[in-house]
Amino acid sequence: MKQSKSFFDLRKITESKIFYPTVALFLILLFDLIIIPGFFHLEIKEGHLYGNLIDILRNSAPTIVLAMGMTLVIATGGVDLSVGAVMAIAASTACIMLNPNLIGLKLADVTKEADPTYSASPLLLVFLVPLIIAGICGLWNGILVAYGRIEPMVATLILMIAGRGIAQLVTNAIKIIIYNNTFLEIGNGWVFLLPFALYIAAFVFAIAWFITRRTSLGLFIESVGINSRSSFFSGIDEKKIKLFAYVFCGICAGIAGLIAVSSIRTSDANEVGLYFELDAILAVIIGGTLLGAGGRFSLFASAIGALVIQATTTSTLALGVPASAIIAVKAVVVIVVIILYSRQVQDFVRKIVGQTKPMESKS
């Protein structure tokens, strides 16, 4: 009796969305523990923690933020390819508001250019306006998908292609260096031993969790993702739900863009957020939300998915693989993850943990 009860528990654990990403993260860290000496070394320098683990947390902040928005979009059965481009647009907007002198659009005191306290617009606006613009980008995607009835992958592809051009249009294709100290704090600051960006990521996670799990919105999103037609018939305004998901994803992309541009200190429309859409989608998939099918989602699993990606990157770097070759390692991880999630392997796992009935195919 006791035996079967424990089996039941095991099954429950393996079916939880958090199980696979956590196992993956654990395996990667275990690998680091054995192969790379001193990987887990932590020390306190200048009042904050230093070490590879902190690096992972800090560098994964933009991906976590993106993954929150992307989870909701994918849960509605869509996908947003434009987040990288939206990050670039938000970053360019913030930089142009901080310092329009640098592209020569405004006559102003040039000596203030490198002043660490100088900002052309009120700082609150520097943070808010890019987020509003990113929200508008999300709205554009949402309108195309929900009201234009265009395939999500296709609809967001448009902004993905055009977005970087728009970002360069904003700054006239000039790379703007950021001198403002307050703005630089977003990506480089520290609070209570930990990087500030991590608090932003936690904040976004908390908001996303609250609006989806403490209101009925999360349930609606899942229902739209599973079957948007029957959701419509049961009184859910599926179009508005989809629109909300894309706008939220756009705003998340805006926040991630601010973090990214603040940590690299230069607005470079070609570099900010490059390939981030892929990382974000990957994080969500590792988190167990089904791309193309939607339905049940777990924000926490997506966040762990983002950590898995960053842990892979950091440990590959620590192994001494050239930075440019990391994508090959990432690709192998993706393949392994998708094979792990494939029906064949899932059935196999079920067989091991004692479930006799094979899983129904989702598609």
């Binding site: 002198n101 020569g104 234009g148 265009i150 992958m153 592809l157 070609n270 070759a325 990432k330 494939s342």
Partner: protein, 532 residues
């Protein structure tokens, strides 16, 4: 009359996106020819083909994948991997006629693996091919971090040979309008692809699989068509096309590196296919249309170059806008076919949709043409406001050439004076190469010196001569450089002849041989320490 036209239009509605693309291409080209005299030359038209044989090859493979209802993002990575791997093998002394089939085989294998993952492991095409793109690009950097130049005579022959067009050229002096072997090759593959798509079992199966949100695949399966095998073969075919594109690319640029075909090349390929009238959800499309899709994306870049005041990033905005327009046409078409969203397909709805579609199509063409006319004015206004302000307009200012200094260096006995300006950091480097192997460099603030062998200098000079430096094929081009592009000012003195040619990176109007030569210089010249 109108009724007749309407009925015809309805009957041939599948051709509407392709027809719209061709009309758009003709109108845009005509407008360009109206504004810029340079575009009236046959050479400019041929340049559209000469600069994009690899894009056409990638687009052919992508068309098949998209018609089958999938998507292939690995095309750009495959180009990078093929170019790097072939360059590395050629450097190791392999025979090029062995390397090329080997690369095609590699493309087929990688494509098949992706196809198997997608078909049998039920991995989303987007994710599997994305992983393929990352993997191939990453492997490039494991093979070599630095760019590998190709010196193989066969590759140089393939890139350098000009097939003069009879009637438009003079066979005696070998001048006039020409196409390259690569163009002819890509067009042959294009013809074969059209045959495969429309006249073989495989091609028809591909059409039957795609579209209707996976329902068509189900029907095809019930009809007993070999769905799984065809799906795998589609990706194999795309892999072969990408490998061919990679070989052509490496011949075209004369080198192999992991950063080749980056910056959203796969997106341009997909956009070209969509603009060419293939529906992204599959089932509908023509390989023939993709040729025009490629030509339209090339034309956008040509127009921007001829305009001169427009920055190169307008191209991505324009391509994005065009993609939107064509997706709009397609989604209306799909609705028209299935009567979706209306439920019942009453004649009135069909009529209304048809009208909506027609007005949307015409409206789209009008909008695009208007945009082509209005955008330069906006850009001019932006430029003016930037110029009138007195503050610094860029963070780094492109330095002017130093022709006097170059001339005096040549006078002092240098055989080559090579100046490179601009780039990401706005460098201003002037190098002089002497016959005894001495190379001096001067970037305005510091000087640098390097010694190479006299044999290397002799070989370099011979190469430059062979590339046709002293012929009319090497001409000065000086359109507005893009933001991070280099501008070059090169003087060569060899066997009593002396000639100076200026050129700009990132332009398509400069002879490709020029960039082989600057590439050869890059290998020889010493590098300056980065500025503090």
């Amino acid at each position: 009359m109108m009724q007749n036209l309407n009925a015809n239009l309805y009957k041939n509605r599948r051709f509407l996106p392709v027809a719209a693309t061709i009309v758009l291409f003709v109108i845009a080209y005509a407008l360009g020819a109206f504004f810029y005299t340079g575009m009236r030359e046959v050479h400019t038209f041929l340049t559209l083909f000469i600069t994009s044989p690899f894009l056409l090859l990638s687009a052919i493979g992508e068309t098949f994948v998209i018609i089958s209802g999938g998507i292939d993002l690995s095309v750009s990575g495959m180009i990078a991997l093929t170019s790097t791997a072939s360059a590395a093998l050629l450097r190791a002394g392999w025979n090029p006629w062995v390397v090329m089939p080997l690369m095609v085989a590699m493309g087929a294998v990688i494509g098949t693996i992706l196809g198997v993952l997608i078909t049998y492991m039920k991995v989303q095409p987007f994710i599997a091919t994305l992983a393929g793109m990352w993997f191939t690009r990453g492997i490039c950097y494991i093979i070599s971090d630095a760019e590998i130049r190709i010196y193989d005579p066969v590759y140089k022959l393939l890139s350098g040979t000009k097939l003069l067009i009879p009637g438009l050229s003079d066979p005696v002096t070998k001048k006039g309008d020409y196409v390259t072997i690569l163009v002819v090759f890509s067009l042959i593959i294009f013809a074969i692809a059209i045959y495969i798509a429309h006249y073989t079992k495989f091609g028809r199966t591909v059409y039957s699989i795609g579209g209707n949100n996976g329902a068509n695949e189900q029907s095809a399966r019930l009809m007993g068509l070999p769905v799984d095998r065809t799906k795998v073969l589609v990706y194999t075919f795309s892999g072969v096309c990408s490998a061919l594109a990679g070989i052509v690319y490496s011949i075209y640029v004369g080198s192999g590196h992991g950063s080749h075909a980056s910056n959203g090349y796969e997106m341009i390929v997909i956009a070209s296919v969509v603009i060419g009238g293939t529906v992204l959800t599959g089932g509908v499309g023509y390989v023939f249309g993709s040729l025009f899709g490629v030509l339209v994306t090339g034309l956008i870049q040509t127009l921007i170059q001829f305009n001169g005041t427009l920055s190169s990033w307008w191209a991505s905005i324009a391509i994005g806008a065009l993609t939107l327009v064509f997706i709009g046409i397609q989604s209306l078409l799909v609705n028209l076919n299935t009567g979706k969203s209306g439920g019942l397909k009453s004649p009135a709805t069909v009529e209304a949709r048809r009208r909506q579609l027609l007005s949307f199509g015409i409206g789209a063409v009008v909008v695009v043409v208007l945009a082509l006319l209005v955008v330069p004015f906006i850009q001019n206004a932006i430029n003016k406001s930037a110029e009138t302000s007195t503050s610094i307009s860029t963070r780094c200012q492109r330095q002017p050439f130093r022709p006097d200094q170059a001339a005096s260096l040549i006078k002092d006995g240098a055989v080559i004076a090579y100046e490179r300006n601009g780039g990401q950091k706005c460098v201003d480097e002037l190098y002089a190469i002497y016959p005894d192997g001495r190379i001096t460099g001067d970037n305005g603030t510091q000087k640098i010196e390097k010694q190479v062998t006299t044999a290397e200098v002799d070989k370099l000079l011979l190469d430059i001569d062979n590339y046709g430096w002293f012929t009319d094929n090497m001409y000065t081009t000086s359109h507005n450089p893009c933001e991070a592009c280099y501008t070059y000012f090169t003087t060569v003195s060899y066997k009593g002849q002396q000639k100076t040619v200026e050129a700009v990176d990132g332009g398509t109007d400069a002879p490709p041989e020029y960039f082989y030569i600057t590439g050869d210089f890059t290998v020889l010249i010493p590098g300056f320490a980065p500025a503090p």
